[in-house]
Symmetry: C2
Subunit: 273 residues, 2 copies
């Protein structure tokens, strides 16, 4: 959520004895920002701005508290990876703390940008302004490109709008990315010519940033305009770089995120949507 | 650990009723590999090789089982990010399962490589073959490069071998990476000339792969030969790419990992070391 705070609001759920929660919250605020005894900090800017602040403590259940920590936006430096670094920090090592929610200052939220197309873009592209969108996954991994392409063709004939790689598909020898994109897009063109309302293949990107750029080039060349990626696996900063990458003039690409790793990070499930 | 298995051994700890553990283990094996009912798979290669196998189940405590799943090495495609994708998969969404350990087939382990220098390299560089190595962190974040450089100089005068950026330091406006590297390396050269036995600054890389390459270039230019990075934040495949990046002939760089995010992933703590 993007809100009118000047500081990043990191909201943790903390299992703690009621008598100890104020001290525990202060310890979290320090650990997630300067990571040292505040008494040893002599610099006024650091003490006044960079040290995390306990903004609120609320008891949600006996022994379970919601602790709101304000972190200086400057610590994030407009870097999505660094945002994750600040939010999780050393507290991710502590069993009693879970990151429950985050609120970003407006300016920081704008620096990251949001969805460029969103569900409305997906609806427009599918020629489906109001009805439910349909989506299915190509699986199981291990099949060769030809078999996955046949499956995609059946999906398209059955009216599926978006056909995605299952999350396990990467650049494996049994169905290399380039061969898969070629086979599936060729099969889909047998069902309907490219354009608004045509069923779309969403291949999954994998590997490092260089690999993913090559995969986008291959996909764009084959007429693909929508891809999926697991931001937590590839690194949020790399995901951000790709979204804002303008090397391809036709690259009005849509992005769909897949949830792998998110829940493992003790994030509240709303971030899965 | 690298062992003489032909399949990746993913070892999960599962909270489960004893009567249900066999079915639960089979469900995990399927979910972490093909993600669909095995009965619907007609391809022999997929059924024989790609479907995960339950290799062992052992009760560790009443209601807590260790389940060893064998995953086909082909699914990983020599991609460190894809390895994480396979190991965590959809099971990372399930509260009753924790990834406890991993054993890689020898060949896959070799494809990733291991530490290029290890602690012996760090010892040699510090001129300290036997005594304990010393390391400290520049902090708090928020200080300007000059103040961090003064701190580094004091550390070096006090005999610290390795002086690292605290994990919160990235490329923030209050101490940009380039200015910090310049200030700290200049300060350390006042204490001792570069070379074996000289105290070393280990700046922390951040941002996307392009950013990190630029940071390495800046660091190498300033005579730095050791850097730190948080592989789970920058993405394991990008980390792997950097380690094997040969663009700088002098780049016999050492790498130190920092643990941020690892514990959040429900990994057993041994991976923090």
């Amino acid at each position: 959520m993007v809100v009118a705070h000047t500081r990043v609001q990191a909201i943790y759920r903390v299992r703690c004895d009621a008598r100890a929660i104020e001290a525990r919250a202060r310890a979290i605020a320090v650990e997630q920002s300067v990571e040292m005894p505040v008494a040893a900090i002599t610099d006024d800017f650091v003490r006044d701005e960079i040290v995390g602040r306990v903004e609120a403590i609320a008891e949600k259940q006996p022994g379970l508290f919601e602790v709101r920590i304000g972190l200086a936006a400057e610590t994030v430096a407009d870097d999505a990876g660094q945002l994750i670094n600040m939010l999780f920090g050393n507290t991710s090592l502590h069993e009693d703390v879970m990151l429950y929610d985050v609120e970003l200052p407006t300016e920081l939220g704008q620096s990251f940008g949001g969805p460029r197309h969103g569900v409305h873009g997906l609806r427009r592209r599918a020629g489906a302004p109001a009805r439910p969108l349909t989506c299915s996954a190509l699986k199981p991994q291990g099949l060769p490109p030809k078999a996955l392409a046949e499956l995609a063709e059946h999906f398209a004939q059955g009216g599926i709008d978006y056909i995605k790689d299952d999350h396990g598909l990467a650049d494996q020898a049994y169905s290399p990315f380039a061969a898969r994109v070629d086979a599936v897009t060729t099969a889909l063109r047998r069902v309907a010519p490219a354009g608004a309302g045509a069923p779309r293949y969403m291949p999954g990107l994998s590997g490092d940033l260089d690999n993913m750029r090559r995969q986008i080039a291959i996909a764009a060349q084959a007429g693909v305009d929508t891809v999926i990626v697991a931001p937590m696996v590839v690194g949020l900063a790399n995901f951000h770089r790709l979204v804002h990458w303008q090397a391809f003039p036709r690259a009005r690409r849509r992005w769909r995120r897949v949830p792998q790793l998110w829940r493992a990070l003790r994030l509240f499930p709303r971030y899965l949507s």
